[in-house]
């Protein structure tokens, strides 16, 4: 009996089971819920009263995975000045060129980065600063490269443009033993530049990471700052004349209001 069944229905039977398996929702097929469920807002607007932005993110990941969310700014070439001592005074002594450098690197994780990467993550899913910056400085001197990259990181961290927030992604079970839900509020610094940013969701299990979702987050100047910035950069002369006229009128008006005789 069993032998007949296998002979007569064996291959179609197995293919049928495989197709059914793919059609079951909630498994690693086209109906998998893995990814970013909520990203709010998609565009950060820098207006007159901007003091940093907030993006609310909700993601679904396989049960038991650790989660990393990161925002990576557009890559740029950057020339920085290196300070050195000349005649007892600290001054700029050398220009250092970095290439393919992310303007911004912000990372939020559910666990310590070192713990998440303990299995030796592939380059594309490495999270630490040095992996992101590798190859940005052309030098054969390892010690020099390490020093300058660490100084670069300190400089960017001082501006809050490079930041790592460990343990800030909250994970809770969504479907016991199958899915987890990850929630985070991504706070963007006041100094963030207008532009298009990459938003990535990475999941880690046993030290191995994989990119689960990738999308973009737009940051743009709006309203008065956009007007002022556009005018200052594109029509500098007229901007200067306007700035002088408004300052002059304001000064005279305030002087009249207070019956001022001015400073100096």
């Amino acid at each position: 009996m069993n032998r007949y069944m296998l002979k007569g229905f064996g291959y179609p039977f197995l293919i049928g089971i495989f197709i059914s398996f793919l059609l079951v929702p909630g498994v690693y097929g086209e109906h998998s819920p893995i990814g970013l469920d909520v990203v709010q807002p998609h565009t950060i607007r820098i207006g007159s009263f901007f003091s940093g932005g907030k993006v609310t993110v909700r993601a679904v990941v396989p049960y038991g995975d650790q989660v990393a969310l990161r925002i990576i700014g557009p890559r740029e070439e950057l020339a920085l000045m290196r300070k050195g001592r000349v005649g007892g005074l600290w001054m700029n002594v050398q220009q250092i060129h970095f290439k393919n450098l992310p303007k911004v690197y912000l990372l939020w994780t559910s666990e310590k980065v070192a713990a998440m990467e303990r299995g030796g993550a592939a380059k594309a899913t490495q999270l630490n600063y040095l992996s992101i910056l590798s190859g940005s400085l052309e030098t054969n001197n390892q010690e020099e490269e390490s020093l300058l990259l660490n100084e670069l990181i300190k400089l960017k961290e001082a501006d809050h443009l490079y930041q790592i927030f460990e343990g800030t992604v909250r994970i809770k079970p969504l479907e016991q033993g199958v899915w987890d839900q990850a929630d985070a509020i991504l706070e963007l610094p006041p100094k963030i530049y207008p532009g298009s940013y990459g938003l990535e969701l990475l999941a880690f299990k046993e030290g191995k990471g994989r990119l689960v979702h990738s999308s973009t987050l737009e940051v743009k100047l709006v309203g008065f700052p956009a007007l002022i910035s556009g005018l200052a950069l594109q029509k500098g002369l007229w901007y200067g004349i306007l700035a002088v006229l408004i300052a002059m009128i304001s000064g005279l008006l305030i002087g009249i209001v207070f019956s001022s005789k001015g400073g100096h």
């Binding site: 940093g52 300070k83 005074l89 700029n92 400089l155 500098g236 300052a247 005789k261 100096h264």
Partner: protein, 311 residues
């Protein structure tokens, strides 16, 4: 509630009350002592995260407002020597233009911040030190001004021979002096260069120059200085906006509101206080700012890398 305001050229967000407070504090000192506040305001802005070149350029913009109202008030009192002011102004425009180009070159070479800071250290040291000494002398009943005026009488110094020996003499009736116009032209140029580099109106340099080098009467000095500073800062603001794109108008506007109000309060309080004690206090403030900047040049920096041109 969010009290931050975004400064599009400085590319940073700063608390609006902090800016009003900074402007108000410097305006208060300005009103109290009758000196310009730019030499204090620019380093304070740098301390609070405004890039140095933006701080300097925007400060020039806000001084346009203060000097406009001051010049108008002194014109009505008849305290402006327009002839002297115009010669100083021509020098100031030449100096300002040279200074802006100098800043542009320094930014390209990455030395703008260093030059701004070292110029500040030197100027704050000289002015602060002088004020401190003058106040001490005054408290000991031996005013430095008297010593200086006495030393001016000692004939004939190199400078005195230079003044009398130069051609193209002009009569400046309002100031009551008869000298070659080359002297105020060169001095105006010097102040213009410093104004462009430091982002100040030049009042705290121009006033001693007029009193001790051009020997003008004090009541004409303030009005004429303001007249010259107004046009110098107009020129510096337009040049910085055109070539360096470093004028943050929003920053300047908030500062001028704060400084104009602060100046009024300071001027009223100054009438009730003893001059020497207040002057020595200002000298200490100036010297503290100078020492803070000097330490920045002498002590090991926290970071070995910095952005070019202060950005």
């Amino acid at each position: 509630m969010n009290f931050s305001i975004y400064l599009p050229i400085a590319a940073n967000s700063v608390n609006v009350f902090l800016l009003l407070g900074l402007g108000g504090l410097v305006g208060f000192l300005s009103g109290l002592f009758g000196v310009g506040g730019g030499f204090l305001l620019t380093p304070l802005l740098i301390m609070f995260g405004i890039p140095p070149t933006v701080a300097a350029a925007s400060d020039s913009n806000q001084i346009v407002a203060a000097s406009a109202s001051g010049t108008y008030a002194h014109y009505r009192l008849g305290n402006v020597d327009f002839k002297m002011g115009i010669v100083l102004l021509i020098g100031g425009v030449i100096g300002g233009t040279l200074g802006v180009q100098l800043v542009k070159i320094l930014r390209a070479t990455g030395n703008a911040d260093f030059v701004i800071k070292i110029t500040y250290v030197a100027m704050l040291g000289i002015i602060g030190g002088y004020m401190f000494m003058e106040s001490l002398q005054s408290m000991k009943k031996a005013p430095l001004a008297e010593e200086l005026s006495a030393s001016v009488q000692k004939p004939p110094s190199f400078y005195a021979r230079l003044i009398t020996g130069l051609p193209f003499k002009m009569n400046f009736e309002k100031s009551g002096i008869h000298i070659s116009f080359i002297i105020p032209l060169l001095l105006g140029t010097l102040v213009g260069v410093l104004a462009a580099i430091m982002g100040v109106g030049g009042g705290f340099i121009m006033v001693p120059i007029m009193v001790y080098m051009l020997r003008m009467p004090m009541h004409v000095v303030v009005g004429t200085s303001l007249f010259q500073i107004f046009f110098t800062c107009v020129n510096v603001t337009i040049m910085q906006a055109t070539f360096n794109h470093t004028v943050d108008f929003i920053l300047a506007l908030i500062l001028l509101v704060g400084s104009s109000c602060g100046a009024q309060i300071g001027a009223r309080i100054s009438k009730r206080l003893k001059g020497d004690q207040i002057k020595i206090l200002l000298a200490v403030i100036i010297l503290v700012v100078m020492i803070q900047m000097l330490l920045g040049l002498v002590l090991s920096p926290k970071l070995l890398l910095s952005y070019k041109g202060g950005h």
